[in-house]
Symmetry: C2
Subunit: 377 residues, 2 copies
């Protein structure tokens, strides 16, 4: 199993530094996991990710891989690591989040969720048990339980019913995982997901019920679904103290660069988000001085790198003027270079955060980064 070792704790905030030991290497936490939806982080090779960026863990999306190329094919190919030639750790989601995003195309029952493929309209079912089996076929290091992620806002009544379902699903998924573990000797962990929309009482109930199952890790789901950011952070503050100290806590689908230290300050060890990669492709670059919207005319003859303090391949080799040209010309190399930079920025922030925690200087670090206004350069 992926085990978690605490290395340092901030004496003032809830921030911690640790190491996640997986069958595919160690992962220093707090960690940001780049998203590799379809068994690829869009535009980047394994070498770019491992050697240049030193990514230790990727996230892959079960829903997409289940539909194409299919989890059974990936199993026959030796699992996802071998299929995509990625020797380091992989976390897979349950597929539930993507299914719930299909809205018109899915139907939730107590047994699971029936949905139609966005590719060919074929009908499929995800149950708490089947999503564990799919993730086992993918040979994921860290699997996620099937949960229902309600949209925002929902009524307390709906949120309560949905949370109850998430708890029932977590119980049956976890029981299934334990049976499979006994049968297969898998080294994968299954993390459970706390839901409850933006209601403190529901978040607490859900956390208590799931903690009783003694899983290897816990996620806080249902964030970044359209709620104001203070509410997301408040939900983490409500939930986190109830989670076991010796287990990793994963905030799903967050966040903007300036939010990363905020989640860490609230006890979060793991995060993932499409923002650095998707925004890169859309022309939004993150720098230590704010955002660069590369299409702007002001960059057309700007010979500076995207970020003068960044040591990524893109910033070492290319100017804003060249990146703007590639973007305007619709050239694929733009996305390749921009994605490298944005991921480098996220991973640099995570390294700074961890370093500050280990040195006992996280409160000062947090104060300093909070004082930097977020500018669009």
């Amino acid at each position: 199993m992926a085990t978690f070792e605490l290395k340092a704790e901030c004496p003032v905030t809830r921030a911690r530094a640790g190491v996640l030991h997986t069958a595919h290497g160690n992962v220093e936490t707090p960690v940001f996991m780049p998203v590799g939806t379809q068994a690829t982080v869009k535009g980047l090779t394994g070498r770019d990710l491992a050697e240049d960026l030193d990514v230790r863990i990727l996230l892959a999306n079960t829903y997409h891989l289940f539909l194409r190329p299919g989890h059974e094919l990936i199993r026959r190919m030796g699992g996802l690591h071998q299929f995509m030639s990625w020797p380091r750790a992989i976390l897979t989601d349950s597929g539930g989040y993507q299914v719930f995003s299909l809205s018109g195309l899915r139907k939730i029952t107590d047994e699971g969720v029936v949905f139609q493929s966005h590719l060919d309209g074929d009908r499929h079912v995800f149950t708490p048990e089947s999503t564990v089996d799919v993730q086992l076929a993918l040979s994921s290091d860290i699997m996620m339980a099937l949960d229902e992620c309600p949209e925002y806002p929902v009524s307390h009544e709906y949120a309560r019913a949905s949370m109850d379902r998430t708890i029932r699903w977590a119980r049956s998924g976890y029981a299934h995982y334990q049976r499979r573990k006994a049968e297969n000797n898998t080294s994968a962990s299954l993390y459970l997901i706390v839901q409850g929309s933006m209601f403190e009482d529901l978040r607490k109930t859900c956390a208590q019920e799931l903690v009783a199952l003694e899983a290897d890790g816990y996620a806080i789901g249902g964030l970044s679904v359209g709620e104001p950011r203070p509410l997301s952070l408040a939900m983490v503050e409500t939930t986190e103290p109830l989670l076991p100290r010796q287990r990793p806590r994963y905030a799903m689908g967050v966040g903007m660069p300036e939010e990363l230290p905020e989640y860490v300050a609230r006890g979060i060890d793991m995060m993932d988000c499409v923002l650095p990669t998707r925004n890169a492709r859309n022309g939004y670059l993150f720098t230590s001085h704010g955002r660069v919207i590369i299409k702007h005319t002001r960059y057309k003859d700007d010979q500076r790198p995207v970020d003068e303090t960044c040591s990524c391949y893109t910033c070492r080799n290319h100017t804003r003027a060249y990146l703007r040209h590639l973007y305007q010309a619709g050239e694929m190399l733009y996305a390749v270079l921009a994605t490298r930079h944005n991921l480098a920025r996220y991973l640099d922030i995570m390294r700074e955060i961890r370093h500050a925690i280990v040195l006992g200087q996280f409160p000062e670090y947090l104060k300093a980064v909070r004082a930097v206004p977020v500018e669009v350069e």
Copy 2:
């Protein structure tokens, strides 16, 4: 200037091995030049090209760069090498070929060609003199004279008039280049282009007239415009003996992998073509055993690399099954990996050819490769 040094000649065929000395490094010939139309070989970084593939010279398209981002911008950015962060040699075409491909949007006069931008419809003029100046702004190592590339087939009458124009343009462009060289101390060469459609008499006349100008290099243009392949090779056979032995000969826009040794056997030193890169993106992969059309179902669980004898990054790290998945999923990484492989295949062929020439074994090499049927695997 880019000077050419002959190193070895095949005693049987017209094949030669040489070195092109440029201000941006040496280029061993025969050489295949990857096409970097808009200041980028689509999807590949400079590191991929230089370190992995050991590309020594790229081709960039003047027409595209003239329109976007503009040659004056590139001049201000320090020239094309600095703009795209490519320290090795660059050959630029004159822009004429792309302009002539616009058909409805251009008009040829004796002074040059008036055309409308495919981007915004703006009206521009290329003259024999202006295209030299544009290429000087790009800081190209090897520039090409403005020529008219007629479509195939054309009448002898049209071909003769067109060839006469190409000769007049070559004279005025070359005179302009010599004036600029005297003024600017540029290290760039200007190569002249033999035209004449598929008529032996016109090819010969054109070659004789251009050779009298004593340029640094000569190209054979007007090939790969729809004519049968034996005719392309016949035109090279007609033209090449008239070109000076001590100057490089460049066959523009060729060819398929199996054609590369055929052109070399006919005295060609330089080639370029979009086939390896464009076909890669379209799913056609070249291997030592024939073509792989990656979308085919037979590859869906094929754990072999694209080419078991290839040592490129893609073949060292990835299976056909993974590449097919990326292709089917529309993932950018497919094009990145496929382009690397196809270019590696072309460059491997060129290294084999050069090696055979240097060892005095080119006739045997040619016999062996001609005996291999071109298969679709």
